[in-house]
């Protein structure tokens, strides 16, 4: 019993030491069943799913790594992912990163689009938006906002609308993981969920002094 206890102590110390230097290691979800679990997940879909739908369960390196670390990767790995994601950012052909805040305001409120499946898919051509209000506070007048992300109220008022801020804002919406690996925020540009032009409208909604985000 005593020996067992001592052994446990040694083991704990061995595990804990490198942990002090790094983020506390957490067992990857699924533990030793992770590989099996992936197969079970993949085997859970009807064979007659269109190929295009099934691409949505594929994972890129970022998704896979974030899952392993429960969205909290060690800093070094996080930095690698951020670099990888930074390299994906594309800009509108005309190079203009700030669009029309009124269009951006509309996109921020739209939460529909992109639902697939046999039970309740979206009708073809259903408008897709950024659904920003699902997670963020933006214009003061919209009270039905979520809190998964930080409040973006007075975003431009607080940060100004310098070129750097505009570029940062565009990049963040295009690929959130370029700055914070494994953030909850989707990578809207990377997945073509929003076009570069639509992203410029959301940028305007955030930074334009005339936008309701920066009023009141």
């Amino acid at each position: 019993m005593k020996l067992k206890f001592a052994l446990f102590g040694v083991l704990t110390a061995t595990v804990a030491l490198p942990a002090l230097a790094q983020t506390k290691p957490v067992e990857p979800p699924g533990g030793r069943y992770a590989k099996e679990a992936e197969q079970i997940f993949r085997d859970s879909f009807r064979a007659d799913n269109p190929k295009y739908w099934m691409t949505r369960i594929e994972q890129d390196e970022t998704m896979r790594t974030c899952g392993i670390y429960r969205d909290n990767p060690p800093r070094k790995i996080g930095q690698q992912l951020e670099k990888l994601n930074r390299a994906t950012i594309r800009y509108p052909v005309d190079g203009k990163l700030i669009g029309d805040w009124k269009e951006g305001e509309k996109l921020a409120a739209v939460g529909t689009g992109g639902h697939i499946g046999f039970i309740q898919p979206d009708p073809p051509g259903r408008v897709r938006g950024g659904n920003c209000y699902a997670c963020h506070e933006l214009a003061k007048k919209e009270l039905a906002y979520g809190t998964i992300g930080p409040s973006l109220s007075h975003y431009g008022k607080l940060r100004g609308n310098s070129e750097e801020i505009i570029k940062y804002t565009y990049d963040k919406v295009y690929n959130s993981n370029a700055f914070t690996a494994c953030t909850n925020m989707p990578r809207f540009g990377l997945h073509n969920w929003l076009t570069p032009e639509q992203i410029t409208h959301i940028v305007a909604f955030l930074v334009d002094p005339e936008s309701p985000v920066n009023k009141d």
Binding site: P29, R56, I57, G146
Partner: protein, 271 residues
């Protein structure tokens, strides 16, 4: 005590302001709230389904002209009290971990002689098409009302399924980079005005699991846990798992294990 009361009053006032403004902004929300109140005033519409389920349970049906009264949901043939609260679990006769719906379908096939296709054809109701499974699960669920969720997942197969569920919970994919954990991995968050439970904690998972099956006002129907989780996948913009898929049973095992100890309050009524 007084402080607590003040806090509650402030909380209620803040909540009222939110609801008030949201209603003014969005008449759809107002309609829904009205439906809610109506439903609550008359009692939970799921109660009717529970009665229907009770009838179906005892009725001789199917090619074998048998009732479901000898169905073993894990506590022995015909033992219903507390059965829902201890599912999913491993069943020796099938060699599988099964949730209430997989087991019910198994009984409909073995006892009543239905084919799987017949048994699952209307696994959820649509306007004008009722679902026997919804009624039966509501009835079975209610037989666990007031009892503690008890899925310790001690059998190796159950432990394995709980781990598989955990894996799926954190697995990110799709055009929004979602996983279950994105919305349900933190305390005290909201999506729009909807509160989100932290399903990685006993409390959060308990709140989520104890009220199913639940009448959903926005859908005008009772949803089973299979229906609920398959729709979560839709919301994540993933393809839809098939009914009774192992991935869904695994997620339920993970969630019920986390919620173990929470007292069941079913059928529930939800947005």
């Amino acid at each position: 005590m007084t402080q607590g009361l003040i806090r509650t009053l402030v909380g209620v006032a803040v909540a009222a302001t939110f609801v008030g403004s949201a209603v003014a902004q969005d008449s759809k929300v107002a309609d829904e709230l009205a439906k809610y109140r109506e439903a609550l005033a008359d009692g939970n519409p799921a109660d009717l389904l529970e009665v229907k389920g009770e009838g179906l349970w005892a009725e001789k049906r199917g090619p074998k002209n048998a009732s479901l009264e000898q169905c073993d949901l894990g506590l022995g043939p015909g033992k219903l009290d507390g059965a829902y609260a201890q599912l999913p679990r491993y069943f020796k006769d099938t060699g599988r971990v099964m949730d209430v719906e997989s087991r019910l379908v198994h009984c409909m096939m073995t006892l009543q002689g239905f084919t799987k296709e017949q048994a699952t054809k209307n696994w959820f109701s649509k306007p004008g098409t009722e679902s026997d499974i919804e009624a039966l699960v509501t009835f079975i669920g209610a037989k666990s009302n007031g009892m503690k969720i008890n899925v310790p997942a001690t059998h190796p197969e159950e432990a394995r399924m709980a781990k598989v569920g955990e894996y799926i919970f954190y697995r990110r994919s799709g055009p929004q980079d979602f996983s279950c954990a994105i919305c349900h991995g933190q305390d005290g968050k909201r999506i729009r005005l909807q509160d989100l439970g932290n399903l990685t904690t006993q409390e959060g998972a308990g709140v989520a699991m104890k009220t199913w099956p639940s009448y959903r006002v926005s859908q005008g129907a009772v949803w089973t846990m299979q229906r609920r989780l398959i729709d979560c996948m839709r919301q994540a913009r993933w393809p839809e798992p098939y009914y009774l898929a192992d991935s869904i049973v695994a997620l339920q095992t993970y969630l019920q294990k986390t919620a173990t100890g929470t007292v069941m309050e079913t059928p529930g009524i939800k947005r």
